[in-house]
């Protein structure tokens, strides 16, 4: 007898969007999101990541959380490419409010307006918020 997951249509790929709106370290959201992103990628799904509001701080270069006793998970964002997670979008307005430019970020991203992000959101099968 086949297992339930083997009955699934072969290669069913859904479009997953992860929306990250929290700063790292102050809450657990950023780290938890990253864990789920990696799981989705392991299932060969079409994954997009959005960083908006304080979520843009997750991608800030030079994070060094050892002095507050936490793990530096920011390096993981650089490894996402290796898991074929290459669609990283950042809200332009959120960056500007926080005095950040693309040079401040540790990965290559696409800067989008809120309207463009909204359109992208409409194309997804699944949207997960963190």
């Amino acid at each position: 007898m086949s297992e339930p997951w083997e009955d699934e249509e072969e290669g069913a790929i859904k479009k997953f969007m992860f929306i990250n709106r929290k700063a790292p370290y102050g809450t657990i959201y950023a780290l938890e999101s990253l864990e789920v992103v990696l799981i989705s990628a392991a299932f060969d799904q079409d994954v997009s990541l959005v960083f908006s509001d304080d979520g843009v701080f997750q991608l800030k270069k030079d994070q060094d959380p050892e002095s507050i006793g936490m793990k530096n998970f920011s390096r993981t964002y650089r490894a996402l490419e290796g898991y074929d997670v290459e669609k990283l979008y950042v809200d332009k307005e959120s960056m500007e409010e926080r005095g950040l430019t693309e040079d401040d970020l540790l990965v290559d991203v696409e800067m989008l307006s809120k309207e463009e992000l909204g359109n992208l959101m409409n194309e997804q099968d699944v949207v997960l918020s963190f």
């Binding site: 700063a23 790292p24 370290y25 102050g26 809450t27 509001d53 304080d54 701080f57 800030k60 270069k61 030079d62 994070q63 060094d64 959380p65 050892e66 002095s67 507050i68 936490m70 920011s74 959120s94 500007e96 409010e97 926080r98 005095g99």
Partner: protein, 102 residues
């Protein structure tokens, strides 16, 4: 009575720091920790509000929390002092009372 206000929430999209600034009276201290440290940076949309608050309160920011988040200490608003955990203890000891804006 000298009061210490401790803020740990990001000032963007959260009214906590604004409430704290409006509440703090002349001569009080405000310490930014955890996600509140972003508000100490000189080039954000919050900078003018924070600079204005420095007219009545002395503002400091916790260095280890800046470093954790990759924020450059040299870009902190001029006049805000960057302190360590030892300085945190000193401020608490110097003030009569503490309000944590949780």
């Amino acid at each position: 009575m000298a009061m210490l206000h401790i803020v740990n929430k990001s000032a963007f999209g959260n009214a906590t720091l604004n409430s704290c600034i409006k509440t703090a009276t002349q001569g009080s201290s405000i310490l930014l920790i955890e996600d509140a440290v972003y508000a100490a940076m000189g080039n954000t949309s919050m900078a003018d509000i924070v600079k204005e608050a420095m007219n009545k309160a002395s503002i400091s920011v916790l260095g280890p929390d800046l470093a954790a988040r990759g924020m450059d200490q040299s870009k902190v608003i001029e006049g805000i002092s960057v302190i360590g955990y030892d300085g945190f203890v000193d401020i608490v000891a110097e003030t009569d009372n503490v309000q944590s804006w949780l």
